[in-house]
């Protein structure tokens, strides 16, 4: 493993994008970053700007209104970039499947690297998903 790959795996910076969800997943993503679960021990850091981020954490069903902005934010992220779909809505549309303004899952819009199901997923599940993504990166980078 080269030093660049090593450093990338040790410090994946996250960008959190809510595509129109109910906030349930968002508060669980935040709870994952706060003291009890402390995702930052994996080197993760929540960043505000897509230009600083390696991993986009997407919560909520993708609405038609937010689609273009989501793609634009994704394109602003530097390579290599990864997308994690958190929650049933981002994975498949969830309870909003069939609503006229909602896409059936994030993968209809962006390539997704890891899915974390649950409505909302527990912080433990989110940590598991991030750990799975990091293991995947180790093989791919």
């Amino acid at each position: 493993m080269g030093i660049i790959t090593w450093s990338r795996i040790r410090s994946p910076w996250l960008l959190h994008f809510n595509t129109g969800g109910c906030n349930g997943c968002d508060i669980e993503v935040l709870a994952t970053l706060t003291p009890r679960y402390d995702l930052e021990r994996f080197g993760c850091l929540l960043k505000g700007s897509p230009r600083h981020a390696d991993v986009m954490v997407v919560t909520g069903p993708v609405t038609r209104q937010v689609r273009d902005r989501l793609i634009r934010v994704y394109e602003q992220m530097p390579e290599p970039k990864f997308v994690v779909a958190v929650g049933a809505c981002a994975c498949s549309g969830g309870v909003f499947q069939g609503c006229y303004n909602v896409y059936p899952g994030l993968d209809a819009v962006l390539p997704v690297d890891a899915y974390i199901p649950g409505c909302p997923p527990k912080p433990e599940a989110i940590i598991n998903g991030v750990a799975a993504l990091l293991a995947k990166l180790e093989g791919r980078l």
């Binding site: 968002d26 669980e28 709870a31 505000g48 909003f96 006229y100």
Partner: protein, 396 residues
């Protein structure tokens, strides 16, 4: 020669839909003159999922879970409002133990929501230590909600005719013990908020909303009560067992963001006492009345005090197993017009760009609820707010 021709006085600052200061997709357009915000405009259409339409296509039981996902933070208020609404169509007596459990879970959710908000507000102020402390203690409330309802966030406890789970005696003991701890911590946070110079500097006199303006702009919830207007659905139009459970309506007359922090902290104390009262006075008996799947023809409106303010649900039934029309009016939407007022500099009152996140956070925005209230046509960029008559016409 004049230079003023090339000098533009007003600038537009677009914020969102993805922005570090925002946790949700929202487009905020600020018109600024130098550092001062002179006008603000909000576009909340990014979270439009078409829930009201979807509710017309699903049956009453499926709609409980859809109503729950209008907002993940105040999901208990939404299901409570929905279930009360549908029960209103039947004319049925709900077991009083179920009503006590509903209030118990509602108040636990209010404690969790207000602590969550206090953390987010501290984060917006730039006081991340407080954010981390508050969220650590909030996990205790989350554990209680999980213990009582079986889920951490979307609780799925309320159902048409009562609640889905009974509360065990050992859970009650755990609740009482945890309430003592939360009360002690909240006292500490109140002391921090009252004495810390950073919080005072960022919040006192920021985001002023005068009482008459608050009433005129239909502000609700803690935003209204921080403007010294005593209005709370739990006291003014009691539902469930709120007419039995004693509590005080908290008001502050500071009219600013600081008052909104104090209102919410004091409401946590009131909620703690209500949780204690509910546990001590909970009657025994069944927790659910079984009802037919399709309610009789009719319409009903129900109101609930969600953590963010007054929540209104309306249902129209045509006797089938699906509602003919469902309508939701959520608190954040009411507060957005008050927000635009707070963000407008007038006379001696000046809003700096740096104050915007604090003022914005002070209404406790929960936009996932919001965008169904206006009828949005994103393709044509057209927004209008329909009266009931217009909605009835559109339906046909």
């Amino acid at each position: 020669m004049s230079v003023s021709s090339s000098y533009e006085r007003f600038f537009d600052i677009p914020i969102g839909p993805q922005h570090p200061a925002l946790k949700e997709p929202l487009f905020l357009k600020l018109i600024v003159e130098g550092e001062h915000v002179v006008a603000a405009d909000v576009d909340v259409s990014y979270t439009h999922r078409g829930i009201e339409r979807a509710m017309q296509e699903r049956n009453y039981v499926q709609n409980i879970y859809l109503a729950e996902r209008i907002c993940g933070i105040c999901n208990v208020a939404h299901t409570l409002c929905y279930c009360q609404n549908v029960e209103g169509l039947y004319d049925v007596e709900i077991p009083s133990r179920a009503l006590y459990i509903r209030v118990l879970v509602e108040e636990l959710a209010r404690i969790h929501s207000h602590l969550l908000w206090l953390g987010v507000a501290a984060h917006e102020i730039g006081f991340d230590t407080l954010f981390m402390y508050v969220w650590r203690d909030r996990e205790i409330v989350m554990d209680l909600i999980e213990e009582v309802t079986g889920n951490r966030v979307t609780s799925a406890i309320n159902t048409i005719g009562g609640v889905r789970r009974d509360v065990k005696p050992e859970t009650c003991d755990k609740c009482l013990k945890a309430m003592d701890y939360i009360e002690e911590r909240t006292k500490y946070y109140k002391r921090v908020c009252k004495t810390d110079p950073t919080i005072a500097a960022r919040c006192v006199g920021v985001g002023i909303l005068k009482p008459d303006e608050a009433v005129r702009l239909c502000a609700v919830g803690p935003t209204l009560r921080a403007s010294n207007v005593k209005y709370d659905v739990r006291a003014d139009d009691p539902y469930a067992v709120h007419d039995e459970v004693p509590f005080n309506v908290i008001v502050y007359d500071t009219n600013d963001s600081f008052g909104r922090i104090l209102v919410r902290i004091d409401e946590i104390f009131e909620s703690i006492n209500m949780v204690r009262y509910c546990i001590k006075h909970m009657p025994s008996g069944p927790v659910r009345a079984r009802l037919r799947l399709n309610p009789p023809v009719g319409e009903h409106l129900s109101r609930v005090e969600a953590p963010r303010g007054e929540l209104v649900h309306y249902v129209k039934s045509n006797g089938s197993e699906k509602p003919e029309r469902y309508k939701v009016r959520t608190p954040t939407f009411e507060n957005l017009s008050a927000l635009c007022e707070m963000l407008t500099s007038k006379g001696n009152y000046v809003v700096n760009i740096a104050d915007v996140p604090v003022v914005f956070a002070s209404i406790d925005p929960c936009l996932s609820c919001t965008s169904r209230v206006a009828i949005l046509d994103s393709e044509r960029g057209k927004i209008w707010i329909g009266s009931l008559e217009e909605l009835k016409r559109l339906k046909r």
